[in-house]
Point group: C2
Chain length 380, copies 2
Amino acid sequence: MDEVLLMIPGPTTVHPRVLNAMSKAVINHRSAKYGELLTETSELMSDLFKTQNQSYLLTGSGTAAMEAAISNVLNPGEKILNVVGGKFGERFMKIAEAHGISCDELAVEWGTAVTPEAIKEALDNDEDIKAISIVHNETSTGVAAPIEKIGKVMKDYDALYIVDTVSSLAGDDVDVDKYGIDVCITGSQKCIAAPPGMSAITLSDDAWKCAENVDSNGFYLDMKAYRKSGDKNPPETPYTPSVSLTYALNEALKMIQEEGVQNRIDRHHKAAKASVEAVKALGLELFADEKVSSTTVTAVKMPEGITDKEFRGTTRDKYGVELAGGQDHLKGNIFRIGHMGNISYKELLQTFGAIGMTLKEFGVIDDAGAGVSSITKSYC
Amino acid sequence: MDEVLLMIPGPTTVHPRVLNAMSKAVINHRSAKYGELLTETSELMSDLFKTQNQSYLLTGSGTAAMEAAISNVLNPGEKILNVVGGKFGERFMKIAEAHGISCDELAVEWGTAVTPEAIKEALDNDEDIKAISIVHNETSTGVAAPIEKIGKVMKDYDALYIVDTVSSLAGDDVDVDKYGIDVCITGSQKCIAAPPGMSAITLSDDAWKCAENVDSNGFYLDMKAYRKSGDKNPPETPYTPSVSLTYALNEALKMIQEEGVQNRIDRHHKAAKASVEAVKALGLELFADEKVSSTTVTAVKMPEGITDKEFRGTTRDKYGVELAGGQDHLKGNIFRIGHMGNISYKELLQTFGAIGMTLKEFGVIDDAGAGVSSITKSYC
C-alpha cells in the first residue's frame, strides 16, 4: 500500500494526466509559447471564478494569495473587518496585522458560520471599515460561510468584499461577479486537484482603484506588477513563474471544463452529504453545525476510546487512507475528512471502510460496516 | 524541432530524471514522509551553499527569496547599501524601498564589477549602514562580482553581508561560511537545473539576531515562521509547499552530488571560457569586462547589420536555440547566452552553430564555422 489516498483538506490526490503534464520540457517563461499557456490558464481560472475580470497566477501557496488579497488594497492604518471562525480566518487577520492594517475581529464560534446580519451590524457600527475578509470554506472547522447572502449585504456598503475560496472553488458555489466579490483568491491543490504551489487572484475595478492608492507594500506579491506584465504582448508574469506547475494547473482546469463546473460542484455536494450520513451511521458526532457544513471537508468529533494518533495512524498505515487532525485548540479533539477534487463513491468507500475498521479494532464501535453501507445508500 | 534548447539565463533545460521526479504522487505536506524529503533537500541545499546553517525552501521564485533576504533582517528606516550594476542589483534596491528601508546605492557601470575597495570606502563613509546587498552573478550584464574578496572586507564591519547567488550557486564558487555571507539565496531553475518555482535561503546567527529585532514585515516570507515549522518533528513548512517541485529539486540536487559540486563548477568555468573564446572567434564583442565575466552567462554586443528580433528569432525558430535579449536600456543592444545547468560541449556546438549560421545568413559575418571550431579547440 505504497500510494496513500489523500483524504485531507488539500493537497488532494492528483490525477496522472495532471502529473504527466509536468513532465513536459520547461520552456522560456518570456516566450510566446508560455504567453499562450498563461493566457489560457488565466482565462480558465476566470471562468471558474465566474468573473469578467482578469485572473492572475502566483507562484506560491494559498497563503501567498491571501497576503496579496489584503496587502494590495489596504494601506497601513486603514481598517478591515476580519471574520474569524477558524484557523484561516485568523490567518487573514494575522496577515493584515503584519501589514500594519487596523483589524476589527468579528469572532464566530468555531464550527458555526457568520451570518449576513452580523456582517451588516458590524458595518453599520463602524463606517471606517474599508474592507471585510472572509474565508468561504473554513477547512479547520468544516464550515461553509454564506458568501452569496453576505454579498447581498455588501452591495449596500462601500467596503471591499475579500473572499478566500482556496478550498471551495470548483467544489462549492462561487460566482465572483454575481456575489459582488472584490478580491477572490484560490489555490491549486484543493478542489482543482492540481499539485500545490500555485494560487490565483482576481480583483474587481473597485479593488484595483484601492490598489492604485496603496503604496507598494511588499514586492513579490505587488499585484500592480502582475497587471503590468500581464498586459504585455505576449503576457508575462513579473517574476519567473513555475512553468511546470502552470502546465499542471492548465491540465487540471481543462479536466474541470470537460467534467463541467456545475457537475463537479454537484459531485462535491453529493460527496459531502454522503460523508455526513456515513459519519452519523457510524454513530459519530459532527463537529460543524450541519446546516452550514462544508461541501469539501467534514469535521468529526474524535470519539472516546481512541487517540488521534491511534486513529489516524491506523487509517493511514494499515488502510492507506490519510485523514487530517484538528488544528490548534482542536488538536486531538476532531478529525477531518477532505473530500475534494477527484472524489467519487469509491474513495468514500475506502475512507469509511478504513474509519469503520479502525474504530472497530479499537473497540470504539461494534459495526465496522455502517459507514460504507451508508455510502452505498447515498449513491444509488 | 519541437524542443528548443534553452540557452537563456534560466530556466535551463531540465533533465528527464528531474522532470520524471514530479510524476510521483503528491503526498501530505504534514507527514513524516514529506518531512524526510524536506530535511534531505534542505541538507543538500546547505551542502551546496557550503554552510553549517539551516537552509529553508520557499515556494516562490528567486525574487521571493530576494525579498525574504531583505525584509527579514532590516526594519523600515534602517540603512542598506545596495550594489547596483544591473537589473537584479536594482531589484534588491526596489525591494528594500518597498519595505521602507533606507537605500544607499553603490552604482557600478553595467558590464563591470564592484570592487572590494569601493565597498570598503562606502562602509567607512557611513557607519549607519546595517547591511549590504550584492548580486553575485548579474545575469543582465554577464558579470560576476568578487564575493570572496568582498567577504574579506566585510569581516571588519558589523554590517550584514547579503548575497544573491540565484544564478551562480552550483555554477561558480560560493562558500557561504568561508566568505562570511550572512544571508544567501538561490533559485531552483538556474545552475541547479530544476524547474522554476522554488528558491532557498540560509541565514547566519548574526542574521537571525537581526531578524529577532525586525517586526513582522509581511507574512508569507517571514522567515521566523519557516524556522518555527522547520524545528518541528517531522519538520514542516509553515504554508503548503510545492510537493512536486520539492521532488524535482531533491532529484536535481542529488544529480549535483553525483557529479560532484566542484566538477560541476569546473564544467561551468570551462563552458564560460569556451563561450568567450567562441564569441571572439566569430568576431563579436563581449559586453562585460572579460576579467569579471560570469561563469554562467555570456553577454555579447549585438553586431551591426542585424536586429535583435531577426537574430534571436532565427536562432530560435530555424535552429532551435533560445537566447536571451538585453533588458531595460540594453534591450536590442546585447544578446545573452546562458550556459547553466546541464551544459557540455554539445549544447555549445549547437548554440554557436546557430549563432554563426544566423549571422552568416544575414551577411554579418563570412565564416559561419568559426564559433563551433573554437568550441572544439576549447574542449580538447
